[in-house]
Symmetry: C2
Subunit: 123 residues, 2 copies
């Protein structure tokens, strides 16, 4: 059987664009994750902010709001996509996570290179 | 043939413990990586600092030196270890990178969950 994203993904921990970057950092640490999908009031995906973006904020001295540092053009996958599609997208765009959405960009989960790496641990 | 770490790993980008955190952040952004192994004057591995640690520094307001925020008890692999050993260690410790060292803890490379994910992309 072909492995599909919904059987491998993790829960997504979303955040809103007007959140302060230091508040986003506290959520990243509290949950032990590196990627926070950004959603609007209708829970539609509008961006992603990662610990890499926070390092960039430190490097440039611009620690403001999530909307100031998030990536807006988000690469995503669908829950029924094969895992190999997720692996190819993350390789192509040099990213380590993909929000999983439905066809209307509502957030369902998150699949990361950590989730894919677990498939190789024989566990 | 069994895949081994040395055929899958990436180059390591090391840093020294007395480097400022904002300087470490600039290196993370410039090289497009998330993990910097920390080495001493004899090039022996003494820690690791990641973009997650920088998010933690932002969350706690402690943006000082690398040695203040780095992890000192580093999980590593050897270049001849099978890839499955690296995958199991990263799963067990909930980490996304392992410095590759020789038996005297000299840095040879870095293997990440991004490297392992590429093995699933059929590429
Ligand atoms: C290009 S990667 C480079 C570093 C490293 N490969 C990583 O994944 O963290 C870092 C950037 O990718 C962005 N990013 C992460 N996941 C993304 C996704 N699914 N779609 C678009 N951009 C994403 C982040 O917002 C960040 O600005
Ligand atoms: C426990 S992980 C949790 C978040 C996420 N799983 C990740 O890998 O970034 C974050 C912590 O792991 C540490 N870390 C990363 N790679 C490590 C390694 N090879 N050995 C020991 N600690 C490591 C970092 O210094 C950071 O403090």
């Amino acid at each position: 059987t072909i492995r599909v994203v919904k059987n491998v993904m993790s829960p997504a921990i979303p955040i809103t664009p007007d959140t302060d970057v230091d508040e986003a950092s506290r959520l990243i640490i509290k949950k032990g994750v590196n990627h926070l999908p950004v959603i609007d009031e209708e829970k539609v995906l509008i961006g992603i902010v990662t610990s890499w973006d926070i390092a960039k904020a430190v490097a440039t001295g611009k620690i403001g709001k999530v909307k100031d540092i998030m990536t807006r053009k988000v690469i995503t996958v669908l829950s029924d996509d094969p895992v190999v599609v997720a692996a190819r997208k993350m390789e192509k765009y040099d990213i380590s996570a993909l929000p999983v959405t439905d066809t209307k960009k509502h957030l369902i989960g998150l699949i990361t290179t950590e989730d894919l790496s677990k498939l190789l641990s024989g566990g």
